[in-house]
Assembly symmetry: C2
Homo-oligomer: 461 residues x 2
Amino acid sequence: MINTPAEIAQLQARRRGLSDRLPGLPIALWSGQAAARNFPANRYPFRASSHFLYFGGLSLERAVLLMVDGRSILFWDEPTVADALWHGPEPSRVVLAAEMGLDADYPLAELATVLGDRRADLATVAVQSPAARSHQAAILGRSLPEPSQATGADGDLVAAIVAVRSTQDASALSELRRSAAIAVAAHQAGLRATPSVTTEAEVRAAIEAEMIACDAHPAYNSIVTIRGEVLHNERYDNEINPGDLLLVDAGAEVSSGWASDITRTWPVSGEFSATQRAVYEVVLAAQRAAIAAVRPGVEYRSIHQTGSLVLIEGLVDLGILQGKPAELVDRDAHTLFFPHGIGHLLGLDVHDMEDLGDRAGYAPGRSRSDRFGWCFLRLDRPLEAGMVVTIEPGFYQVPGLLNNRDQRDRYGDCVNWERLEEFDDVRGIRIEDDVLVTAEGSEVLTAELPTDPDDICALMV
Amino acid sequence: MINTPAEIAQLQARRRGLSDRLPGLPIALWSGQAAARNFPANRYPFRASSHFLYFGGLSLERAVLLMVDGRSILFWDEPTVADALWHGPEPSRVVLAAEMGLDADYPLAELATVLGDRRADLATVAVQSPAARSHQAAILGRSLPEPSQATGADGDLVAAIVAVRSTQDASALSELRRSAAIAVAAHQAGLRATPSVTTEAEVRAAIEAEMIACDAHPAYNSIVTIRGEVLHNERYDNEINPGDLLLVDAGAEVSSGWASDITRTWPVSGEFSATQRAVYEVVLAAQRAAIAAVRPGVEYRSIHQTGSLVLIEGLVDLGILQGKPAELVDRDAHTLFFPHGIGHLLGLDVHDMEDLGDRAGYAPGRSRSDRFGWCFLRLDRPLEAGMVVTIEPGFYQVPGLLNNRDQRDRYGDCVNWERLEEFDDVRGIRIEDDVLVTAEGSEVLTAELPTDPDDICALMV
């Protein structure tokens, strides 16, 4: 928890960036508090609200960062003697406030007093912790809507936060690169472990051990599964056998809170079957085409469209789909095998700012499509230099989709079902990288982990 | 999630045990729901309420188990098609109800209807999840106090649950042994890793990887620290160096929810210094004496007293304390170096049933002492065959205690401060095992992991 002078200056610049967008508006950001697991003393590890982390720079529990009249102030209670016995001494509040580059610090109970009659104007963002949200409501003297529904001053604050946090500054990029490097090493550890183990759980152990050894942890519940067709599969109880593809979607969160998000799919045996390799190459072509399309000004929706088209072209070449690729995309035929969106913003949150609903992911005035597949797109706005996004097309054989009567009626003529049966050893493939939008185009932050199928298999030794 | 016929019979016996204690009372147990981490879709892994797990036997989210008029009924909603796309298909509700040995099953929304006018009498236990607690209050039509404050029918339910869950049946013991074996292997992995790594985080990684590889996970935030004097230290950012003692308090939770809880302390170099070994032997003598005292009918408080006395005798022998051991214990002098309680109940929760406050840990009519040290005792009731408890004395040099003016005034004459300075390479030592109370005395469930200092060091290769 030591911020360098450069990091402190960056924190101050972030706060100025926010305040300048909201002149005269007092802003308070709550850090939240840890959630009880099975009893109050057995808590999940505390994870501060990303907005507090972004503008405050330290993970302090039960803290409030107030920005008012050009000053930034910390409200936080130092641990009692008993707390220190159990959880260790902490730096004093004044030291922490200096680390955050703040102007003043007070006990939490003085928040209302310091606010005085500015309390009526105060803007905030509701945090995830219900207990902290109660405190927010008590201080503000009003109920707090979900951030996605925030209006008035709270709504203005959400818009300003989205404007500031959508592109990554130097400190943020440094942490995102560090997080990416840990996730790369974690996948490498998973690849190395695969030949010598017999269960999904053991591969997961190798992956997460690499993160834990770096004093990081999973940014989300890792996916390590031979049943890749379950998009967010969080079970790890299968044996892995030669012939299986293992889909691994695992990213790290470093101690400062910044995230990475990588997916690779590899054959348990170390060798793709001909059918697995063929589909893998199609997904990889889609991913490469999508990454190649990333540059400032491009609509992310069009990147989803590009990836979907290349995927369909490949599936037509394989004889799985039949028809003209452009027409098949227009008919959303890709959603049969690729139902989700091609990616999302990445930052302090693995789906960055998704606590704000779609207010970060969708440009003002836009909202989710009601078309299947497209409705899962988490990002629909023009890209800007400094944004970090994931690019993660996939191919899945989801029985619930492929056997669905409506889908069969709609797409029965597009699919060569007999040909598809030959690919029954391909349950799910996804390839995902973290991509920084640069002035010139893009930089893949996770490029050190190969996507070429031979290069991936070469890491399994 | 497959229960055997014997396990199903055991679940039915547990429910009968509860209902027989509360004739005529309808009982509903909520499983709870996962907590959001930094945004709603990024959730902590779901962990069902232990009461639901104990009487229901399956980890189902947003479920209610109703026991009324001799029938046991599951209320739960099967996943939608969209849920299944993301999280995979689940067995049908009727299949799950059969696995739980239940009599009927309904969608969650039918709970109120099925209850009918029995709703006014319904007893329950408030769960940890605030969202689920709101649902409880809505169904019951009344606010729910903390379980520690429950009165009336809810209070009767708490008392009956404590009576049933305090001693472990055959299914429970089988899972507790499995959990203990995983924790033993995890500590062994940590010991093996120590000589080849340089940070606390790397040792933690080796320990938790062993749990994850068994499809288990930490039952609580692991403690892996060279600063063992911070009792619940949850930081892992120190280097480890020869000369340091590493204190590891790590237990597993198996997929059924049952926990283990082991502490070992070992020298990073593989060799205790003379001073470290001397204090280690004192703590070990205290632990062995306390375990030897475990048998049905013995007051757990007296075991704490026994351990404290042996600890003081050892510290007097070392010249750290001075005076008559029995008098020093009477003056609570052990709390200077051993401020916490000697252990707690262990079961589905690592502090079993601590969601009920002290209603499981303390015999009726008893409450926490206001004496320092004793106030941290989590268990104060006579032991019964079938209970599982931890035995975990320790020795710590906590600057906040040893330098505290009040403590110095009170105990200045008991401590040879010059002699104590010779032991400055001993920051914290704790030795903890999980102990089953048997008819004859006790069985150490974690005995496979040695406590002898030479035997421990022999595992570091």
